[in-house]
Symmetry: C2
Subunit: 229 residues, 2 copies
Amino acid sequence: MPEKNHKHITCQNCVSREKSLFDTFCTTDVGRLNKIKSCSYFKKNQPLFIEGSLPRGVYCLNQGKVKIFARGEEGKEQIIHLASSGEIVGFRVMFSGETYKVSATTLEESNICFISKNDFLDLVDTNPTLRKGIMQELSRELAERATFITNLAQKSVRERLASALVLLDDIYENEMVNLTREDLANFIGTATETLIRLLKDFKEENLVKTHARQIEILDRERLLYIAGA
Amino acid sequence: MPEKNHKHITCQNCVSREKSLFDTFCTTDVGRLNKIKSCSYFKKNQPLFIEGSLPRGVYCLNQGKVKIFARGEEGKEQIIHLASSGEIVGFRVMFSGETYKVSATTLEESNICFISKNDFLDLVDTNPTLRKGIMQELSRELAERATFITNLAQKSVRERLASALVLLDDIYENEMVNLTREDLANFIGTATETLIRLLKDFKEENLVKTHARQIEILDRERLLYIAGA
DNA sequence: ACCTAAACATGATTTTTATCAACTTATATG
DNA sequence: CATATAAGTTGATAAAAATCATGTTTAGGT
């Protein structure tokens, strides 16, 4: 958990960097990165950026979780991706002159570093390894979204919920899954009421246990099985 | 329409190249491209590559259309993208050492050029403009898939069908839309029977007209309106 | 031009999921 | 610590879409 308000992070000993696209940086580049980045404390439900606005740079998650979402015609959120520490958010749009096509908002209090567009593009231009990493990451996410689309089109809500809970179990590592029912519904693509009913079924089947908002995963194996079916 | 069997294409005067990622190539690079590429004739329903196999290079569509699809647990196809002339297919996976996560199959007889992985990566390494174009393209597709996900999750099948028909009207340019009902159903993410019934509704509302398999778009404006609602 | 398999179409029915309304429980803030 | 407000829950009902069965048409191969 992040400290009260602003906490300064040094790239040199940032554990989140080690699982990020900056993991292969040499000492010089890490030093450079440390100079150009700025750290900020974000409180819960604070937006990083909003669909339609112009990007100023990228966000590197040190601590915390961020939801990336689009809005449908009636303004309903569709969560496309959940980012956690080590992820760099908002770099896709750095390569075109376009506005954000999605929005990003923190799900909990977070420490997030910011790198301006110019500085980031300089890094990419001068570092072929980073460039390669970015291309790989873009490709990986494209494949991930193909699976997302297929699941949404072909799986039942029950199957998608099981699948999402396993994914969330990974994202929340040692903690319990802590999303509002609405966010969870907007992630699996269903109505909040439907989600709640299915979650109740899962509770009765001893697959999960709820502690108010928090969801404890009890039987990951069986959830995986349900997701697969 | 492509000629019977093999047709040799010269990159220098290829009109498809002009709307491709290779559009900004200088004379030297076009000559280079022309030397490294090989042309093939593909008949209808011929696979370019299959999910799980190892990529050997990229495919540049001169003439014809290709469906990119994933398969769900029960083997059902989910069409993720429809590619037409000028598109370069299969380059996402060039940057990782991974296998294809999707499959690609022609929808009609096509003329398609092939560039080997090494040759393609050389091009990318030595041409910063191409590199930038690829990154932009990857980002654009990522945004496109976010919209795809949102539509799938929030719109009714009727809305998605209207939306898909408008998109297909663009892809098929002057021709009529020519996809099997099953492919169309697998694109909008519904059962074939449901699609047929909705198409019937659209016919009765004078939005489209069918000529056996072919679909003629009569009222694009109204379809767009239905898609939006 | 024929013929056969695949594609298309329609009806009946069931299942899944959304919607609406009402009520209860948390949670954040003064 | 009270309390207002947002989040969560439940039930009844409607709507949307899938499934199954069966018949018809179309298109590709010889």
